[in-house]
């Protein structure tokens, strides 16, 4: 079952206030051949990324992160607020950010996507969700394509609502948001 991890490893910073969820996402990422750092809060994440306004130590400066996955609902600083701080920083704005939430709230999703999130994943996470995100990051898709497909994704998500209940196997997340458009996304 061990995946072939011979290719270069992505370093992912996972932010979640839930101990259980941190354990799960760490495992999902390690299986997907990623190096993982987990933290329990946005504030801690910003510290590691060198954005906390205080002088970071040398080792923190060298923390090279290729992807940030953050929970949305966290005390003190939400995932959305963390996303804004990252995208508002000249130093960190290029790091892709994925937001995760157990609640599929359209306005929340829109807000995150508009703020520059790469994806919005609905919990509980499955391996296929993580693999899809990693694939996307590794392939480094064109940013423009993401902007164009944001509204399509919204429509796709809304259509998925009807299909989700009928199929117990279907993922509660979007199916292939970038690689190929789902057949149901007509119009």
């Amino acid at each position: 079952m061990g995946s072939d991890c011979s290719s270069a490893e992505l370093h992912v910073l996972a932010v979640d206030d839930s101990l259980v969820d941190r354990k799960v996402i760490e495992r999902l990422l390690k299986i997907s051949c990623c190096k993982v750092t987990t933290v329990e809060s946005g504030r801690r994440a910003l510290q590691l990324l060198g954005l906390d306004g205080e002088k970071s130590s040398v080792e923190f400066d060298e923390l090279n992160v290729n992807l940030i996955m953050t929970d949305y609902s966290m005390p003190e600083m939400t995932g959305y607020e963390l996303l804004k701080k990252i995208k508002g920083s000249s130093k960190l704005c290029k790091i892709p950010v994925v937001v995760m939430s157990s609640e599929k709230v359209m306005s929340r999703i829109d807000r995150c996507m508009e703020e520059g999130a790469e994806e919005f994943l609905v919990k509980p996470l499955k391996l296929t969700d993580v693999e899809r995100v990693i694939d996307f990051i590794l392939r480094g898709d064109d940013k423009n394509e993401k902007k164009i497909t944001t509204s399509l994704k919204r429509k796709t998500m809304m259509m998925h609502e009807d299909f989700d209940s009928s199929s117990s196997q279907s993922s509660s997340n979007w199916e292939q948001p970038f690689q190929k458009r789902p057949k149901i996304a007509q119009n």
């Binding site: 259980v20 969820d21 799960v24």
Partner: protein, 145 residues
């Protein structure tokens, strides 16, 4: 022994204690990490003790702070669904509905149910994992796509 383990698991699913997410986590186990799900569940029960206590204390207040209770339950629901605790998750949802309706009695009643399901699942999983350890690792040909 594998057959008995599979039957045990099937029974947990049939009775609605667990859902698909449990399988998703089992799929992440390998020779190097054969007890991952057991570790997650152990962590969950240890970590949620504090949360249960917080909710109990909050339910003793008068009037109830529904927003706070809802927030606690959101956390509870989240970690419960992360490993597929279906019945517990259902009670969490029910509790949150009562919070939103401002139904104090409903909250208290549902919380009693939740604690029952939470405790029952713990016992059942303890048996399951003990059996799983004895049965040994399952050979997986390939992970289904």
């Amino acid at each position: 022994m594998q057959k008995q383990l599979a039957k045990m698991k099937q029974s947990l699913f049939d009775q609605g204690y667990l859902d698909e997410q449990f399988i998703q986590l089992e799929e992440l186990q390998d020779d190097a990490n054969p007890n991952f799900v057991e570790e997650v569940v152990t962590l969950y029960y240890r970590d949620s003790v504090r949360l249960v206590q917080n909710i109990e204390q909050a339910l003793e207040k008068n009037p109830l702070d529904f927003a706070k209770l809802d927030s606690y339950m959101h956390q509870f629901k989240g970690s419960s669904s992360s490993f597929g605790a279906k019945k517990v998750k259902t009670e969490c949802t029910q509790f949150r509905d009562h919070c939103r309706a401002g139904n104090a009695d409903g909250c208290k009643r549902t919380f009693q149910e939740l604690k029952k399901e939470y405790a029952t699942l713990k016992k059942k999983l303890e048996v399951y994992f003990q059996f799983a350890r004895q049965a040994g690792p399952v050979e997986k040909a390939c992970r289904p796509k």
